[in-house]
């Protein structure tokens, strides 16, 4: 097995890591059951792709603009739906994500089933420059290395930012809302505003994860953003543990090592069956962990509240 293969797994784990950091701030720290994360990711990735290919923007300008668009989508979705009960909020967000995917598939502007391609030239130039620099220190051989480094660097930055926010008074209010919304409101906190901010941050993180997904697969296609992505995100969340940002990295690496490592067991199965088996395994992990160790492998039980 080549190093490039495991670097590829590492890139996937990093993309999921950034994606799940957003779920963590919603689920683990605010108590919001956000099932629309794949929709925000799709909006971010498609916005970037279309700004580059249709509007001729530089990818470096398109990225922050796409983050803003995803944040706007988060606010737009959150403003009406955050007033709903938690299970209704969950349904509303997954419906939103499906509408987004349906739109990408059917609307003329999004390229339909052909998807979007050809937005990553500037990134590839940068990546080959990075590869040349890495060659100087003897790390030049692996083509996936630049993306791997950038993804995990970005994960680290997001992690540090979130940890800083969590330690701030703002983060304490979020947790107060998770524990008892009415008590937080009674203390004069604008609960809806805090929840909106939490959802907006999650949407921004989803958009960033979407950029790296787009750079990794080199084309955008509606089915990349189906709800399964969000559900796998929840599997990462359970593995890493609730209310722990650091746990997200461990959960993501663990999940993807197991998922991709399965192929080295040389089971007497077809490729399709192996693919199915991976998802059965994830399903079983979700069921067993939630029943036996609901706080996740590394989470703390005291930090699990959701209404």
């Amino acid at each position: 097995m080549s190093a490039d293969f495991w670097l590829g797994v590492g890139v996937t784990a990093g993309v999921y890591g950034i994606f799940v950091l957003g779920l963590q701030i919603n689920v683990g720290f605010t108590g919001l059951l956000n099932l629309g994360q794949a929709g925000f990711m799709g909006i971010g990735a498609y916005a970037m792709g279309m700004l580059v290919t249709n509007a001729g923007w530089s990818i470096w300008a398109a990225m922050p603009a796409a983050v803003l668009i995803a944040v706007a989508a988060g606010l737009l979705v959150g403003l009406p739906s955050l007033r709903l009960r938690s299970d209704y909020f969950a349904i509303a967000t997954i419906a939103f994500a499906e509408i987004v995917r349906d739109t990408f598939q059917n609307a003329a502007f999004a390229g339909g089933n052909q998807g979007i391609i050809g937005y990553d030239q500037e990134w590839r130039d940068t990546a080959s420059w990075l590869l040349r620099q890495l060659a100087h220190i003897g790390l030049g051989g692996d083509t996936q290395l630049p993306l791997f480094i950038v993804v995990w660097l970005c994960f680290g930055l997001c992690l540090a930012g979130l940890k800083f926010l969590q330690a701030s008074p703002w983060g304490r209010v979020l947790r107060a809302i998770r524990e008892d919304e009415d008590a937080a409101a009674a203390l004069g906190k604008n609960v809806l505003a805090y929840k909106l901010q939490s959802l907006a941050i999650a949407a921004a993180l989803a958009a960033v994860a979407g950029f790296f997904l787009a750079l990794n697969v080199t084309y955008l296609y509606p089915s990349e953003f189906d709800p399964t992505f969000t559900f796998l995100g929840y599997a990462v969340l359970v593995l890493g543990g609730f209310a722990s940002y650091g746990g997200v990295a461990i959960g993501s690496v663990l999940l993807w090592s197991v998922m991709e490592g399965l192929r080295f067991l040389h089971l007497p199965l077809s490729t399709g069956q192996l693919g199915s088996l991976r998802f059965v395994l994830i399903g079983l992990i979700l069921i067993l962990l939630s029943m036996l160790r609901p706080q996740g492998l590394l989470g703390r039980k005291a930090e699990m509240q959701l209404r």
Binding site: Q105, L277, F279, L286, M291
Partner: protein, 338 residues
């Protein structure tokens, strides 16, 4: 009417007749009137041929949406969660049915086997997973995660054994009948008749049988049902039995009316089932049946104006609008936040 008359006689401030009528008319009658009015308006706009055809097609879909949604809404009462694995019960039942037909058994008897096996699976899952979780009073988050995990296990187990490719149901999908300017596939007619008959049967069973009343009571408020002396354990098991069997039937009807399926189809229509259940007021079984009819009709009516590709999006749009404008649904009662 007689009872209201006598109360009018005793009370001094008699409400005007019109408002009494307004309050006495059940919501389902208003819904029926609204649907007929929309149907007439469509007839005026696009002509009777197109409107009638879309309505016929819509009634075919009404069957599987209603039967899928009624199980979802009854189970909501047991779990206090919209069951994300419900769509994959449709898939499971349909693939069991196809597996039995592959042995040479005719389609509809195989469908009966599929329904029974799915109902038994639903009871088994309650024993192994949901009952322990109910006893442990687990959080919404845990229930959601387990339901999601179960959905993945069911869907990909089916895919593991049956493959992910699109399968034909193996029925004659070409023969069709003409009713004046309208036409309908023979199979679609079967689906429509079986679907509508089962809706009526389910509605009557919930309304008039003791078990049906107990199931509605449990779905509405499990603690209150227990206090009134209902054997909730038995009722919950019966609820899973009905929900599982109807889910399988819904999947089978879907497969028969479309002609081809893949292992993702149950999950794909799950959101439309959510839409039907929420539209009818979640936890309200009649509401889910009526909601399913509304979803079936509106998806087909939408094709009169939009490309067919947008059909599923109509279900999502109805879901979101219902959640935002009247989260208790058409039939939901006013009650405190749960």
């Amino acid at each position: 009417m007689r009872r209201s008359d006598s109360s009018l006689g005793r009370g001094g401030d008699a409400p005007p007749f019109a408002s009494a009528l307004w309050r006495r008319t059940p919501p389902i009658a208003w819904l029926a009137i609204a649907l007929v009015l929309i149907g007439l308006m469509l007839t005026a706009v696009v002509g009777p041929t197109a409107a009638g055809q879309a309505t016929l097609n819509g009634l075919v879909g009404a069957g599987y949406f209603a039967l899928g949604a009624v199980g979802l809404t009854l189970v909501y009462g047991v779990l206090r969660l919209v069951n994300f694995a419900h769509g994959d019960m449709l898939t499971f039942g349909t693939y069991v049915t196809l597996g039995v037909t592959a042995l040479g058994v005719p389609f509809w008897p195989s469908a009966a086997v599929g329904m029974i096996v799915t109902a038994l699976l639903a009871i088994l899952l309650d024993r192994v997973i949901w009952e322990p979780m109910r006893r442990a009073r687990t959080s919404t988050l845990q229930l959601f995660l387990v339901a999601t995990g179960l959905a993945l296990v069911l869907r990909y187990s089916v895919q593991f054994f049956a493959g992910s490719q699109v399968r034909t149901v193996g029925l004659d999908t070409t023969s069709s009948l003409n009713f004046g300017p309208w036409h309908l596939g023979t199979l679609q007619l079967d689906v429509m008749l079986v679907g509508l008959a089962t809706i009526l049967l389910t509605g009557a069973g919930l309304r008039y049988t003791r078990l049906g009343k107990e199931m509605r009571a449990v779905a509405d408020n499990i603690a209150l049902a227990e206090v009134t002396g209902i054997d909730t354990r038995r009722t919950i098991r019966a609820t899973w039995l009905v929900a599982g069997g109807l889910a399988a039937l819904a999947g089978i009807l879907y497969a028969a009316s479309i002609g081809t399926i893949n292992p993702n189809f149950g999950f794909t229509i799950l959101l439309s089932l959510f839409a039907a259940a929420v539209l009818g007021g979640i936890g309200n079984a009649y509401g889910a049946l009526a909601g399913g009819v509304v979803i079936g009709l509106s998806q087909e009516w939408s094709t009169l104006f939009f490309n067919t590709r947008w059909k599923p999006a109509i279900g999502f749009a109805i879901l979101i609008l219902t959640l935002l404008l009247m989260p208790r649904g058409i039939f939901g009662r006013k009650k405190a936040r749960l």
